[in-house]
Amino acid sequence: MAGYLFLSPAILFYLVFLLFPVGLSVYISFTNWNMLAPLERARWVGFSNYTYLLTRDDMFIASLKNTLVYALGTVFIGMAIALGVALLINNVRGSALWRFLIFAPVVTPAIAVGRIWGGIYHPSQGYLNQLLRAVGLPPQQWLSSAELALPSIMATAIWAGVGATVIVFIAGLRNIPAQYYEAARIDGARPWHEFWHITLPLLRPTVLFLSVTGLISAWQVFDLVYSMALGGTESGTTPARAVMVVALYLYTTAFRSLRAGRATAGALILFVIIFGLTLILLRVLRRGGLEAYE
């Protein structure tokens, strides 16, 4: 009894701030609530929010596809780049300076990053097209082309987020005992063998951590897409279907279209997807690190 009493604040906290909101969200997802009328007046609509989203709403389906492409692209390409950078600067002179320079974009607000890169991508005035012209290549409509807009935003996201990943990789690299490399060198291993057979396997827990946290955060991307491609930017007009991501869809559905019930259903679908992906990642990358050698 005393134990439960000690636990009661924590239990109460979880009941009030976790279980109740989750339960309420599930209930709201089965209603047509618009947030303006009291919840009691909301009509029970069964699974129709879910069926509409998954069978009738091509914008939601597009947002799922775009977000999946965005998440996989930014996380895994970002990790590959970050690992390369981490390996390069880990043992070089002045690595603290390099770490600072690479980390700087991480602490820049996403809206500011979006603004800066919106300028870089500008079709006639942007540096990127000026660079292309200088080397004789045709300029591109980076943010107004339906095909290029999402990859352009992803490239910006990778640039903005790679610094944090580099720092985590450097920490992971420094945790690998030097004797593994020494032993391998005595056995005649080349740098590529060292990377493939020592570095990468021992970084598996780091990769797992970065994959899970990166994917969860990438699935919730909002501000970068909003500031760079939607909202009538100076770079032109992008079709929403080409760049719509789930978080943006949920926001506009709830607060612009006044369909909180449908947006909540979409949020729960998003939760199931993130949960499923996380389970798959945990299963694939669970083993590894130093214990794999035990």
Binding site: L36, S124, P139, Q141, S145, G236, T237, S257, L258
Partner: protein, 445 residues
């Protein structure tokens, strides 16, 4: 020794009690004073100079909302008005959250697109009869239409917006044109000639740019073309969408002519007009102050405004409006209506209202009250606003329909798909109509 200590303790007790009594009386006094003043919370979507006034040096040249409110507070010592300034794009979100928490404002600025839902969900209080009569008699028809939901007036119109062709006079002169286009065909031809490309094909200056980025920006100009061709947006009984008929298709095809002729493309942006990288655009009246600021002393020599080129012999433009409503949850409804009456309906000796003066002198928007329209010739008959005021006679107000924002968002996305060539105009309009029909069936079926 013991008695001395006891005496000191009693002294402390009495002193403490006396202090507590003094504090209690003081607080009670403050409470009484506070309770005597009635607080009205007014949430507005205006910011900066619109709230604080326009100054030249230290000199106030146009009152902001704050100075008007201060005047009301001076003449009504029992009233305290709190202005809450919220950016337009966050306004509805904040209102929704505040309503759910029971902390909504007493006076609400309502965009007509939100109006029907606010009425349907009981957020708005009915307008007093005298103000209803005032709106019906004193306001221009398009504004009355904008504030009407199901035949009843639900707010006091304070701003009406419409569209016109804004062009760069210098660009047109350089290209040898003596004036702005009058017909849509002329617009397409002139747009193509005004467009300048670099050697590698990059567009350096667009002949025309569409406003884009939010639902009204794209849908309103399209609706103007649709109406001028004799089509309609929705069936009069709101049972189905009608824009995907021949007139709607012709309207979208007319827009696409500008893309096909090279007058514009999806990278063109009206926000580049102030940098001289766009020659013509269909724009709303609120862009005036940005253009004045951008062109400075060259403003009058550069900026020209004309009616939207006619597509079928006559130019029609879409209108939207804002109105003031009182929250049904408010505890100070009478006081809120009294203030609104003072600000929007009580006329000054010259026949204008305080609201009209504020609109014309500070914001630069078009006041929808007839007396205000006539009473501010200096501001409303200027280079930019004159055409917008004249074009109010050719303006159709968009329909006030439940889920109006959602309906327009669907059409917006589909029109942009057609601009990009990702769907044929017919496919885009049919897809939009199909989804909008679902919504109309849900709410009006």
């Amino acid at each position: 020794m013991g008695r001395k200590r006891q005496s000191r303790q009693w002294t402390l007790v009495w002193t403490g009690a006396a202090l507590a009594a003094v504090v209690a009386v003081a607080l009670a006094g403050t409470g009484t004073a506070l309770a005597a003043r009635t607080k009205i919370v007014w949430q507005v979507h205006w910011t900066d100079f619109q709230i604080d006034g326009i100054y030249q040096g230290d000199q106030l040249v146009a009152r902001g909302l704050r100075q008007w409110v201060e005047e009301y507070e001076r003449t009504h010592p029992d009233i305290d008005i709190e202005l809450q300034s919220i950016p337009m794009e966050e306004y509805l979100n904040r209102l929704i959250v505040a309503q759910a928490a029971g902390t909504g404002p007493d006076i609400i600025s309502v965009l007509n697109t939100w109006g029907p839902q606010l009425v349907y969900d009981g957020v708005l209080e009915p307008v007093p009869a005298d103000l209803v009569a005032d709106v019906r008699n004193q306001y221009i028809p398009v504004a009355v239409e904008g504030a009407t939901v199901d035949g009843q007036i639900w707010g006091i119109p304070f701003e009406v917006g419409n569209y016109a062709l804004v062009y760069n006079k210098k660009h047109l002169q350089e290209a040898g044109f003596s004036g702005p286009p009058r017909t849509w065909d002329e617009l397409v031809q002139m747009g193509a000639k005004l467009t300048r490309r670099a050697a590698d094909g990059t567009v350096e200056r667009y002949g025309f740019a569409f406003l884009a980025g939010w639902e009204s920006a794209v849908v309103h100009p399209y609706l103007g073309l649709l109406w001028s061709l004799g089509g309609d947006f929705l069936a009069p009984d709101l049972s189905r969408a009608t824009f995907n008929g021949p007139e709607g298709l012709a309207a979208l095809e007319a827009e696409l002519q500008l893309f096909r002729s090279g007058a514009t493309d999806v990278s063109a942006s009206v926000w580049e007009f102030p940098q001289g990288r766009v020659s013509m655009m269909i724009m709303a009246s609120w862009y005036e102050s940005s253009l004045k600021q951008a062109f400075g002393s060259e403003y009058e020599a550069t900026v020209g405004v004309a009616p939207i080129p006619a597509i079928n012999g006559k130019s029609v433009n879409a209108a939207y409006s804002w109105w003031l409503g009182v929250n049904a949850q408010s505890r100070v409804k009478k006081e809120a209506w009294d203030f609104i009456r003072w600000f929007t309906a009580q006329t000054l000796p010259d026949g204008t209202t305080r609201m009209g003066t504020y609109q014309a002198e500070n914001i630069g928007s078009i006041p929808p009250r007839k007396g205000d329209l006539a009473g501010h010739p200096e501001q409303l008959d200027d280079l930019y606003t004159r055409v917008f005021v004249q074009e109010l006679a050719n303006a159709h107000h968009e329909p006030n329909v439940l889920q109006g924002a959602e309906i327009k968002t669907i059409l917006w996305h589909e029109i942009v798909e057609a601009w990009h060539g990702r769907k044929t105009p017919k496919q885009a309009l049919d897809d939009a109509a199909s989804k909008i029909d679902d919504i109309l069936r849900e709410f009006y079926g």
